[in-house]
């Protein structure tokens, strides 16, 4: 059964405003699970929802269920700092993230939902000659992959963000790498847009349904055990982010992943001051300003294994110090909220979209602290793999066996130390 079509438009908003908003309907159905599907997607975060959406729309598959332990969007998709960008260096990553950026640019029209995609730009600050060389190289790699990149000198940065502390003794600002097509999007809106689009295309979005085991016969997956009973499936795609190791352990697999906590913060609403996204990598701090005016900022992961979905105070202090060093004016703003999410930190800092040794069971994981920007391409490429049994051209390097084979995609070059990526 397909969902009920309720299209959004300016006219519709106007009409509802005049008629007491009585005409809005729920965005998706709330079906009970069927005994058997062709495709089961595990995890109702951004990646699972996008996978279901593209599987049903672009790849025209049917009999699809998405199983979510809690409610749709309860995980990292609703907890991130909403930055979208395609400013990676390595050939295994950059074409994939640029594919994602292009999908962001057309996605709201495609699924008819306002995800508030805002290409307000991202500026990575430069403090040393070495960093300038590294960013020049990265910018060139981006251009080669069809993305946009500009190297800014200090006068250009000053014009854009005059409030920065340019003459900090330890980290004077010497310029920046700018990607103008980067920006932010409304994280919940992305989840809801994909969920509604998938529901309209006939996907059963099943909430409060935790996967507790896999049915595996002669090396082939036949279905899943859940808190709402057994569900048969021809193919199963797992996209559970921070819980990847736990879920795949149910299939007897160990992953090249550690789970870590990452915190984020938001201040009281302020008048518009921050023009886009600004990152201060050297000082473990990045910031943007939401449309409501709050400064949204964060820093590094906590650095030790955690499933607690919260961090500790030393990181709060570290992030606050980074903020004060970069833009002292932030010191007068009051912090409203902070929260944490569960990062699936991979051993090389790059993701995995691949088959597993168990036939029909496929894995989407290892997104670290940067999977929000990947949501559209991750869903598209995972749907491609599930539907065609072959990797999408931009996701060919994101293999599970690349670690053992020595083909890691290590942007930072720090080796198998998840807490340093």
């Amino acid at each position: 059964m397909k969902g009920v079509l309720m299209r959004f438009s300016g006219f519709r908003v106007f009409k509802e405003a005049l008629s007491g908003h009585k005409g809005w309907a729920p965005l998706w159905r709330n079906p009970d699970p069927q005994p058997e599907y062709d495709y089961v997607i595990v995890g109702g975060g951004g990646h699972g929802l996008a996978t279901a959406y593209y599987l049903a729309t672009t790849f025209r598959k049917s009999r699809i269920a998405l199983l979510e332990r809690g409610w749709l969007g309860q995980g990292n998709i609703g907890r991130n700092t909403t930055i979208i960008r395609s400013n990676y260096l390595l050939p295994g990553n950059e074409p994939f993230y640029e594919f994602s950026m292009k999908l962001w640019e057309g996605m709201e029209q495609a699924f008819n939902f306002n995800a508030m995609v805002s290409q307000r730009g991202i500026l990575n600050l430069i403090h040393t000659d070495g960093q300038r060389d590294a960013y020049r190289r990265r910018g060139n790699a981006m251009l080669l992959a069809g993305a946009d990149a500009e190297l800014l000198d200090v006068a250009q940065v000053r014009e854009m963000a005059p409030f920065l502390n340019f003459d900090n003794a330890r980290f004077p600002i010497k310029g920046g790498l700018m990607q103008r097509r980067a920006g932010t999007a409304r994280h919940d809106g992305v989840a809801w847009g994909y969920a509604r689009g998938a529901d309209l295309a006939g996907v059963d979005l099943i909430q409060n349904c935790e996967v507790t085991g896999f049915r595996i016969e002669e090396g082939r997956v036949r279905g899943v055990e859940t808190s709402r009973g057994s569900i048969g499936a021809q193919k199963v795609g797992v996209a559970v982010a921070g819980n990847s190791s736990r879920v795949m352990a149910l299939a007897g697999m160990r992953l090249p992943i550690e789970s870590h906590a990452l915190q984020a913060f938001v201040s009281e609403g302020l008048k518009p001051t921050i023009p886009g996204v600004i990152t201060f990598g050297a000082g473990h701090f990045y910031v943007s300003q939401s449309d409501k005016g709050g400064l949204v900022f964060g820093g590094d992961i906590e650095g030790y294994n955690s499933y607690a979905q919260r961090g500790n105070l030393p990181t709060v202090e570290d992030v606050a110090e980074g903020g004060m060093a970069l833009m002292p004016m932030i010191g007068r703003a009051r912090l409203l909220r902070s929260w944490g999410g569960l990062m699936d930190m991979s051993m090389d800092g790059s993701p995995i979209i691949d088959k597993t040794p168990i036939e029909g069971l496929m894995l989407n994981a290892g997104w670290c602290y940067g999977g929000f920007k990947a949501t559209p391409a991750s869903g598209y490429c995972f749907a491609h793999l599930l539907a065609t049994d072959t990797p999408h051209p931009t996701a060919r390097a994101l293999r599970l066996d690349r670690f053992a084979r020595g083909y890691v995609i290590d942007e930072k070059g720090v080796g198998a130390t998840p807490n340093l990526h």
Binding site: I257, Y304, N305, S306, N312, P314, T417
Partner: protein, 96 residues
């Protein structure tokens, strides 16, 4: 988080550097049959449990000893700490 260092008492976790799962103490034999696969698993694969986890912490800003800390990853509660040296020697069946 406070780590109960066996020699120094309670120390702030900020004084330590984290390495990860204490199974890293059990380095495979590089000369054994199948060493390449064993090292692939050793370097890259982790149990990553939700719950009790034994893990290596290095007291970098302290006495520079390696500890095996037992910690609950769902609550961050620290359940104990031993000198990694003692753990490694006990595993080999030898005394310190």
């Amino acid at each position: 988080m406070l780590i109960p260092h066996p020699l120094l008492g309670l120390r702030d976790a900020q004084e330590f550097v984290y390495l990860g799962d204490a199974s890293l103490l059990n380095r495979p034999d590089g000369m054994a049959e199948g060493a390449a696969e064993a090292f692939g698993d050793y370097v890259y694969l982790r149990d990553n449990p939700a719950g009790v986890h034994r893990e290596l912490w290095f007291h970098e800003q302290g006495d520079r000893s390696w500890l095996v800390v037992t910690r609950d990853t769902t609550t961050h509660e620290i359940l104990g700490a031993e000198l990694a040296r003692d753990v490694a020697l006990a595993a080999k069946g030898g005394a310190a």
